[in-house]
């Protein structure tokens, strides 16, 4: 069965919408919150996506509809509009809420295990695989004795 190309295109578009919709479903529920300059707004959203909402804790402030998240979004946009760099805004936030506000924690002694865990897991996996395959194969069986040879030929020749 052949589908009309236009219909198939529509289907793909719908699918794309369904897949990517959650990515753009931000909690900026008031358009007046957004900055008039689209480039600045985009930067503010990118910064906000890296900041943890301290109320919901596992959401970024861009995704959260908590009151404090809205205030922090507002603060981020103010700083962006003032022309501060991403680093400056991030430092401002860390200065107030500590590294906890960063969804991507910096590499420190405390987060060492967190960062090296993927590598560690890979090494452990390779280690286990190596250890398993290294085991000696079963030794080759000794050649048949005369007695066994005779029994074998008896068995095959009875037919």
């Amino acid at each position: 069965m052949k589908t009309h190309p236009l219909r198939r295109g529509g289907l793909i578009a719908l699918l794309a919408c369904l897949i990517f919709a959650p990515l753009v479903a931000l909690a900026v529920d008031d358009p007046s919150e957004m900055l008039p300059d689209p480039a600045q707004e985009q930067r503010a959203e990118a910064i906000g996506a890296q900041l943890r909402c301290l109320v919901c804790q596992n959401e970024s402030i861009e995704d959260s509809s908590a009151d404090l998240a809205r205030d922090l979004r507002h603060v981020v946009r103010e700083h962006v509009a003032k022309g501060e760099s991403n680093q400056q805004i991030m430092d401002w936030m860390v200065n107030r809420y500590g590294n906890f506000i960063r969804l991507k924690p910096p590499f420190t002694i405390g987060t060492l295990l967190l960062w090296v865990m993927p590598l560690l897991a890979l090494c452990i996996g390779i280690g286990i695989a190596w250890w398993t395959f290294r085991r000696p194969r079963a030794p080759t069986p000794p050649p048949l004795s005369d007695e066994e040879r005779r029994r074998l030929s008896d068995l095959t020749e009875t037919r």
Binding site: V94, R96, P136
Partner: protein, 190 residues
């Protein structure tokens, strides 16, 4: 002769490994959960970096029935003061009020009404009994962000010179007062 049988001790060791790991994880979770019920572990506890730093710059307007204050007021102090963020719409704040009302005779408490309507904050303080020596209003919640406040109630012990010496993001309890706040406040006085 077929495959060489693996030694029984090695096989048992391999079978025990997942059990040991699961057991270890189980003990970890159990300790976390029991710590949550006993109060020694709080996953919501945010370790604010405000400790041992001077109070942030701010000036806040009056909140009836008290007068507001600024960073300069706190920095000019010679004795410790408890700074308590509260709001009329916050249930844990209601819960800590009786404790604050007992504490106020031993340690001055300054209140900041967080994102509250002035008449609501006034009503709250009148109903609960006013423990605050001074009360300020943080209408837009921006001063709270400078303090690193993530919700109400949140309390800071500010020592002489306006240095933040202690902080909690949970309601004040009697145990906190006897075990932590008063010993610390007394040590800051001398």
């Amino acid at each position: 002769m077929s495959e060489q049988p693996s030694s029984p001790t090695r096989r048992r060791l391999l079978m025990a490994a997942p059990l040991v790991v699961a057991g270890g994880v189980g003990v970890g979770f159990w300790r976390m959960l029991s710590g949550m019920t006993r109060g020694s572990f709080d996953p919501h506890d945010i370790h604010a970096p405000a400790l041992n730093r001077p109070v942030p710059d701010f000036t806040l307007p009056d909140q009836a029935p008290g007068t507001g204050f600024s960073a300069a007021d706190l920095r000019g102090l010679k004795a410790p003061v408890l700074v308590n963020y509260f709001a009329s719409w916050c249930i844990p704040c209601v819960a800590e009020m009786p404790v604050l009302n007992v504490l106020k005779d031993r340690l001055p408490i300054w209140g900041i009404a967080y994102k509250d309507k002035p008449e609501h904050a006034l009503g709250f303080v009148q109903r609960a009994g006013n423990p605050y020596a001074r009360i300020a209003a943080d209408h837009d919640g921006l001063a709270a962000i400078d303090w690193g406040v993530s919700g109400v109630p949140e309390t800071f012990l500010v020592g002489p010179g306006g240095i933040i010496r202690w902080h909690t993001a949970s309601p004040i309890t009697e145990a906190m007062i006897t075990n932590t706040i008063m010993p610390l406040a007394d040590s800051l006085k001398s």
